[in-house]
Amino acid sequence: MQPDRDLERELRELGSRVEYPPTPDLARAVRSRLEAGEQPAPRRGWFDLPVVRWTAVAAVVLLAAFPVLSPAMRDTVAGWFESGQVSSSGQAADGAREATPAGGDVTLKGKGGSHAAEAARPSSVGQPMSSSGAGEPPSGVNLGYGEPISLREAQTRLGGSELLLPEALGVPDQVYAGGPPRNGGVVLVYRARSGLPSMGDTGVGLVLTEVPGSVESAYLRGGTLPVAGAEEVSVGNGRGYWVPAGRRAPALADRTGDLPGSALFWERGGLALRLEAGLPKGEMIRIASSVR
């Protein structure tokens, strides 16, 4: 090393050039969690090491829950293992999916602890849209899409793009962010109701995921569209890709695409959109076309 080299000056200069990822809006998320009465996640132990945890979860799923799951949900659970990796998406223990044998449901835990899916209709666009109680029956499923947020916060999560809502359905029952997809997306959840059948045993009628960017960057595991298993369709004036229920398009599937319904992918307003529901293709396209 050259004797005249000023290491400390070089380190300072190096430090001034370090490019960090953009700082996320933690303040709002933390406040939402605190106002939802959430406690810190319990301290992790050896059980939380990924290999140990997933081995145990796999054993529980296969030995106990599998026989009592509905056929649709069995396909879903099997799909997780077909993928070759049950990804925690950087959330370790808190992003885990577990089967609960007693109820026969698949329980998905969201980031930072479990969020019961029994959500009230929002009283304000500024309030987180998932809170327990409120007289609604529990759906028996947590969605694993991150933490509940308000519609207003959902708007801020999409950068410069405008949050889109399906006019055919109106305001969602729940909005989530922070789970997969990790790249700045939000997930709008509509409870099963008349004309919107439950997907499997989940109690969820429709899920709309919105991620800045293209379908390829948001949902595709490498490669380009079109992909095997997806049918090209028209959504409004644009192209979309339809994956019928029961069929898998491996390149388009990811953890948040595991609900046992059909899926429709398209782009609008700088967002890559995915609609999941247990509806016929024409009805899915009609709802998708009303998203604006």
Binding site: L7, E19, L26
Partner: protein, 193 residues
């Protein structure tokens, strides 16, 4: 940050922390907003992963809120917070079974916009790459103390909190880490002939 503005921030932090202690989540949101960048970057330096850093920092803020009862009134908030953040980030990295990496990107252009001849710029870029590479070969303790000081520009009290050591030992730790970095660079140069 100057001394007077630093005192003003500390005073504002103390007021917000007191309100947060009494359950004022809006005050805590404001407190978090003032420190979320350094908290996230500290977690990122430890985990080397943006998503993991976000989770760690967020969880640390929630934990800190619930631990505010033990926070001494009038004490500086940032060192106390960074201790919680660093601990959470370390635990997450260990739980994930990852070794600490130095996943930093360095800008090619000068932040101050200074221009240099192509030859000078190329030499400087080479030196930075070399320095970053050698830094990455140091043991974790050395990398962190250097990173906290020169990359995050933490104060000695903040470094001590994040490192989990006594404030009086920070200078000697930094000095030893720099000596090892210098030594490693000389070895690399000797090896390169």
């Amino acid at each position: 940050m100057g001394y007077s503005s630093g005192r003003a921030v500390a005073s504002e932090d103390a007021k917000l922390a007191e309100r947060a202690k009494n359950g004022d989540t809006a005050a805590y949101e404001k407190l978090v907003r003032g420190h979320q960048a350094v908290a996230f970057r500290t977690a990122y330096l430890i985990t080397g992963d943006a998503s993991e850093a976000e989770d760690a920092a967020q969880e640390a803020f929630v934990k800190a809120y619930h631990a505010l009862g033990g926070f001494r009134t009038g004490a500086p908030f940032r060192p106390w917070l960074l201790a919680v953040v660093a601990n959470e980030a370390r635990n997450r990295r260990r739980a994930a079974g990852r070794r600490l990496g130095l996943a930093l990107r360095v800008a090619g252009e000068s932040p101050s916009g200074e221009t240099a001849s192509p030859e000078t710029a190329a030499l400087a870029a080479e030196r930075r790459a070399e320095l970053l590479g050698t830094l990455g070969t140091l043991r974790e303790e050395d990398r962190m103390v250097i990173g906290y000081r020169y990359f995050l520009q933490l104060s000695e009290a903040e470094m001590a909190a994040a490192l989990g050591c006594a404030p009086g030992t920070v200078k000697s730790r930094l000095s030893r880490a720099l000596a090892r970095l210098r030594e490693r660079m000389m070895e690399d140069e000797d090896a390169a002939g």
